[in-house]
Symmetry: C2
């Protein structure tokens, strides 16, 4: 259905939203209760993360999980 | 952010969409390339599934993954 792989799309969106909020990977990781290197690999689309971790990251960015899974216009 | 757990919300949505399409769990499983018992446990919110499998199920239901992650009105 999507041309872009879902893990890549999620990673691109959270990187974009994190930068928009002026957060470092470390600051986002702290807010989400995850490790900085984990956030880095998620942003690069390298991890097939679970819905629960995806929601934790979305919550830390103050967005709904669906906002991290939309193709940017 | 959500009152309902993300895995429960996903499960409820895919059960609703599957029934709307008149598909059995087995038929959906076949379309998605997954096992029927796996679909059953996902529908019951028992599995913290990955983005890739969530998208496979959404594709088999002809919806976008975000349609499976919205709280039903």
């Amino acid at each position: 259905m999507n041309t872009m792989n879902v893990t890549n799309m999620f990673g691109k969106n959270i990187r974009r939203l994190r930068k928009l909020r002026g957060l470092s990977q470390e600051a986002l990781a702290d807010k989400a209760g995850l490790h900085r290197t984990y956030i880095g690999s998620v942003e690069r689309g390298e991890r097939n993360i679970t819905l629960v971790n995806a929601e934790r990251i979305a919550n830390a960015l103050d967005v709904h999980i669906t906002d991290c899974l939309k193709e940017e216009k």
